[in-house]
Symmetry: C2
Subunit: 555 residues, 2 copies
């Protein structure tokens, strides 16, 4: 089979205004970024239509290093729905340059279920992440300058809570000391960079409901505490307007097309491990304004992505998914069943059976939110018929719908079965209204503990002294009503990346909290989770190149 990028290149792209026209988006309102990408103004969102559109969440079992294919299934499902005559729109997250050049690769789907132009989407795209990086680091520079210029008048922050960001995997920047050398080089202090996807500005962009809300949230960003224990925000720094200006275009969702020429929106942040990892509320609502069926995804396993999608994104926006599709692969299940990574492509029914524990726990969790769940089995060429039958039978026993997705190899045609299952399930048994994992006025500890014990399967939660200190601060600021966004490894239910399957009865440690007062959520850092990834020994950058004028090595 051709590589993703070969397939992408083989497709005759339609001009984006034609894609818009086909989707009933007024073509004179779109703003082109090249021939095949456009931004859409927010006033195209139609709240009446949003109410009527069927929202479908695509999530997955716990991830393998290669991923489970959630984006591919999300796109495939949209293609399948179109094949059976439905008006469907997929709303995805933007890839980050860090993993593109590091280990994971791009995030524009795969095979014959991609969003295009994949090279642009995987690289700078419309510059949204760059705008976020700029806005974030502009705050850093303005804050450090304020401290530097006002030190003689005795102003200072007891604690500078604002780090910097870059859209690159650079472990060297996690912990740094800035302001060294001459006095004119600023105040010497500890600092550090996170990846742009973990920026509070990214979360704000994804959670803001409109431009006004964007501005309000930027004003509220907490930068630190003064010596007399007063919070110091971006509003206090006097630059909320300037930062809003930097995000003026970034807030508009990006329209692209699928491998079959249908519309797709790609907007907002990945990394459901270290961030809330959902695409933007405005993009989801934009898709819902033009489609009867809107498919969106949440990152990594359902413990991370789906939980945050419901408890943060849906809680804040009022969105109610009609259905949750969980993606499973035979390889992933076998890995969770204890089969060695170099053997998961070989048939192994016993390993597969053992791996069901992971799928089952995710399904129980999703149902606990009141969701109707169907399983999309993302088929690979190496899967045996016996394995597929075993999974199908298992789903029947659980009473969850099951369909095979072959969109990777066959495009929309390969997802017709899944599309029919989805339409039928939404008709007959749509999800109940969301039952969140925790209540708004639970304490921070109760929120963390409900997620950790009910969703992850932990026995109890421990907090480091640093985390306890932060809880006190959060309480004293009266911010404990914010949702909690747990930063945790994507490779396991627990904080231990090697705990495959369905970890159970483990101790769960929270090492720190980060207050996102603009995004209105509290990040809880589990264990030694880093918010700036590193590069592997052989990064993907070694394989990215231009050959005969064409980009190679993106996938």
């Amino acid at each position: 089979m051709k590589t993703d990028i070969e397939i992408a290149r083989s497709i005759n792209l339609q001009e984006i205004k034609q894609v818009a026209k086909n989707a009933n988006i007024p073509e004179d309102r779109i703003e082109n970024y090249g021939r095949y990408i456009a931004k859409l103004p927010l006033d195209l969102i139609n709240e009446e239509k949003v109410k009527k559109s069927n929202l479908i969440l695509v999530t997955a079992i716990t991830a393998t290093k290669a991923g489970i294919g959630k984006t591919t299934v999300s796109i495939g499902l949209a293609l399948g729905l179109q094949k059976i005559g439905k008006n469907a729109f997929v709303a995805l997250r933007e890839p980050s340059l860090g993993p593109c050049f590091g280990m994971k690769g791009g995030a524009a789907g795969g095979g014959y279920a991609q969003v295009l132009p994949m090279e642009k989407i995987n690289l700078h795209f419309t510059g949204d992440f760059h705008a976020i990086t700029s806005a974030h680091n502009m705050i850093s520079a303005l804050l450090d300058n304020y401290l530097y210029q006002n030190q003689s008048s005795g102003f200072g922050l007891k604690e500078n809570l604002w780090r910097r960001v870059l859209d690159v995997n650079d472990r060297s920047l996690r912990n740094i000391v800035v302001g060294l050398g001459a006095k004119s080089n600023g105040i010497t202090q500890e600092a550090g960079f996170d990846i742009t996807a973990a920026s509070e500005i990214m979360a704000i962009l994804c959670l803001a409901t409109d431009e006004k809300d964007l501005r309000r949230r930027i004003e509220n960003i907490l930068l630190g505490y003064t010596y007399d224990d007063k919070p110091f925000t971006v509003k206090d720094l006097g630059v909320a307007g300037a930062i809003t200006v930097l995000l003026r275009d970034a807030i508009y969702p990006n329209l692209v097309q699928t491998t079959e020429g249908s519309p797709a929106l790609v907007h907002g942040g990945p990394f459901a491990n270290i961030a809330h990892g959902c695409n933007s509320i405005v993009a989801t609502k934009m898709a819902m304004s033009f489609a009867d069926y809107t498919i969106t995804e949440a990152g990594f396993g359902a413990d991370l992505g789906a939980e945050k999608f419901y408890d943060i994104k849906c809680r804040k926006s009022g969105l109610q998914p009609k259905l949750t599709v969980i993606v499973a692969t035979a390889q992933g299940l076998k890995m969770h069943g204890g089969v060695a990574l170099d053997k998961i492509k070989e048939p192994n029914l016993e390993g597969l059976y053992h791996g069901f524990a992971n799928l089952d726990k995710h399904i129980r969790n999703l149902r606990s939110f009141g969701q109707t769940v169907v399983v999309a089995f993302n088929r690979f060429a190496t899967d045996s018929d016996e394995e597929v039958d075993a999974i199908k039978k298992h789903c029947e026993e659980l009473g969850v719908g099951f369909a095979i997705n072959n969109a990777f190899t066959d495009g929309g045609e390969g997802a017709v079965e899944l599309a029919k299952l989805v339409v039928d399930t939404i008709d007959k048994k749509p999800s109940e209204p969301l039952k969140f994992a925790y209540k708004e006025y639970d304490t921070i500890e109760e929120k963390v503990e409900k997620i950790a014990t009910h969703i992850y399967g932990a026995k109890s939660v421990q907090y480091t002294n640093k985390a306890r200190k932060m809880i006190k601060l959060i309480n004293s600021m009266e911010l404990s009503h914010y949702p909690v966004c747990i930063a945790k490894t994507q490779y396991s239910f627990s904080a231990d990346p090697s705990a495959y399957g369905a970890a159970d009865g483990f101790e769960f440690e929270i090492s720190d909290f980060v207050i996102n007062n603009g995004a209105e959520m509290i990040i809880a850092i589990a264990g030694s989770m880093m918010r700036m990834p590193g590069l592997p020994k052989s990064p993907q950058a070694l394989r990215i190149d231009v050959v005969n004028g064409e980009i190679e090595g993106l996938s």
Copy 2:
């Protein structure tokens, strides 16, 4: 009079495809970035037409903090030329976000001589600077990762020469230590950030003649030396392809329009103090491919911008300007004449006469390159007729053409006199072929000394030990044939920002050299020049805002 941004907003923009069409650029070849900006593919460059186009350089007397108005005159001259029926195209540099939010403000011209849409041009524009920032820091991350992953096998760099960059004024990042904390956070080492305009990638983008040359230069970037004294380049790191991919769109020049709807190109780097500070060769050649008169600018005073334009950009590209226009203001001349900054708006003939020394020295310098020079007097409302007459008379005595530019207030109509002078001078007495300030095979010291003594007026040049060590390295690598790019204050001929007028007979110190092996030039750092600016006490960011949906505070 209206503010720049009010004027910008009052103009009815043409769709960029119409602007292209008017300029005979095939509209089906342009790639839109929004409605009013497009990128142009490099194969539109026509070398035959390049040879026939009249290239005009606009430079200036030594800068005041407010600038002399070089960009405004450049745009005004293009407008004036069009008014008298000539086919003219202006090719400018892209603004940097750092000064936009810091002290200097934007860089898209002013009044009725602007390039539009000025908000976009001054903010993220087409993302070129972001692509450069990404590419630069991707190399940093990949290099530090290589060192980290291979330390156990004994590989290491004796000296890591590669810093990081951000497009922000952030003094705290000048000198930092990275890789602190756990061992998994990388190798602890000294590091630092420059502003993106000072990135070697920026210089490469501006000096590359095509995509192939871009790739070759990226391969050649020198990152450091191994323990056995071997150079270690981006090619050795194995990521030249990946870095080229990140710059794939950035190398294409950006088409915008002037306040009178005529075409303008804006592409490549500002900061002629800390970089070579010229727009890209490909943009200049693109403009020349479609215009009989091509106007381009070089940053800050002629000692910096024009010298680098001739000795680096023209030497490398073979471009030969037919004329150099030097911009002068009465306020600037009075400042150089010793008038206090708060008094330069008041008539002061004596101060003005004293200030002529600065203009005269620049004119002598420009003539030493074989250039025919005319003076464009950028008139301000506060200038008295007597002052204007005095300057005119002085120019007559020097035998240089003189014209008043009123484009700021009157657009093209205000630059007709200047346009006629320019056309007439090129007809009657075009510049001679360029006589460079130094020869390719002069030693590094000879190059620095020729610029410092002949152009700046220094008595002699001192080198720090660090600089001497670098000279040895440059010689041992056989790189002394590269042009020298001196990083020096823009406020004076010397390295002392307070030495107004025409400094003379001073000691000039070079504190360090930076090898740009990909850009094929050697940066010589004069005195304590920083390549990462800081923010002032009251940064422009405080005044940038969105008011009633419109951006305020950009100029």
